[in-house]
């Protein structure tokens, strides 16, 4: 069960779950239209038969920023009902995601911090595929404005 977004009760190790996302040629094409990123990496199988330095992807791959969008969606869906604000997200891509994969973002509370004017929660985030491989990882920062600061 996912942890409720309450600054007072949150503790390191608490988890946030995101919904599964089924990746298909159609979902990748839709992301092209939504992001205006029509890089042939995401569109052109013939192009993707070639090598990229030492890497060969073998076919089209999902936009790395699709991972980013899914993590951001998970964080805002968790934070907004509690009046918390998604302030930062840093990610790096570890493995390509391909049509047929099912990916799912998740978060783990890492630390809490109170500053002069607000309260912050740091979250380790990751996206895993259906084989349990981590395809993207990073860190997020959420602000929990203090009730007194109103």
């Amino acid at each position: 069960m996912m942890t409720y977004a309450n600054f007072e009760t949150l503790k390191a190790g608490d988890t946030i779950d995101g919904p599964a996302f089924a990746v298909s040629r159609e979902s990748i094409r839709l992301f092209c239209d939504a992001s205006l990123d029509y890089n042939p990496l995401h569109l052109d199988d013939d192009y993707m038969k070639g090598d990229f330095g030492k890497t060969n992807f073998g076919g089209i791959i999902m936009h790395g920023m699709n991972n980013f969008g899914l993590i951001s969606r998970m964080l805002t869906d968790w934070a907004l009902p509690a009046g918390a604000i998604h302030r930062r997200l840093e990610t790096r891509w570890l493995k390509p995601v391909k049509p047929g994969d099912t990916i799912r973002p998740a978060g783990t509370i890492k630390a809490k911090q109170t500053t002069a004017k607000s309260r912050w929660v740091l979250v380790d985030v990751a996206v895993q595929n259906q084989r349990g491989e981590t395809v993207a990882a990073g860190e997020a920062m959420l602000e929990f404005p203090s009730a007194k600061a109103g």
Partner: protein, 163 residues
């Protein structure tokens, strides 16, 4: 798509090969030099399309009546709308569109939400470039503003350049 309403005069070119020869390669990119950018009118249609692509269902982005009663007093865009803005606010010869550009990681900070009807502007540049394990990297930094001059979000990323 709502591109007809975009403040950019020409329709978005979806064939990234077409202007490939006009774009800077790694050697041409000067860290510190501003990138050419274009103002972009963010429409509710563009926000809704982004939401559909990543499965966003929050009424703050999609339901005007619910959003009006919410904390922002009206519709907003999801924070990660900068994914769209990066391409919407740059011209066809921008090097971010070079076929084979591989995103190696990004970090973004969010100040205030973008809203439908905002005219978004971008200040962007390459900040650094380097070579690592025979790969050519460029670090880019970007700040998006609304029509009032307020910062919406700022971000930094690394791409591996095509060779």
């Amino acid at each position: 798509m709502a591109q007809a309403e975009s403040s950019a005069a020409t329709p978005f070119e979806t064939d990234f090969w077409k202007d490939a020869k006009l774009r800077k390669v790694w050697d041409d990119i000067v860290p510190g030099e501003p990138r050419k950018t274009l103002p972009y009118l963010l429409t509710q249609d563009a926000i809704a399309l982004y939401c559909r692509a990543v499965g966003e269902t929050n009424p703050l982005y999609l339901d005007e009546a619910a959003a009006k009663a919410g904390p922002y007093g009206g519709l907003i865009a999801p924070p990660a709308i900068h994914i769209l803005l990066m391409f919407a606010c740059t011209p066809a010869d921008d090097w971010m569109r070079s076929p084979g550009t591989v995103n190696a990681g990004q970090s973004w900070s969010y100040n205030i939400p973008a809203r439908p009807g905002d005219t978004i502007t971008l200040q962007a540049r390459a900040l650094d470039k380097f070579i690592k394990r025979e790969r050519l990297f460029v670090v880019h930094d970007n700040v998006f503003f609304n029509q009032h001059g307020d910062v919406i979000c700022s971000g930094r990323g690394q791409t591996i350049r095509p060779m």
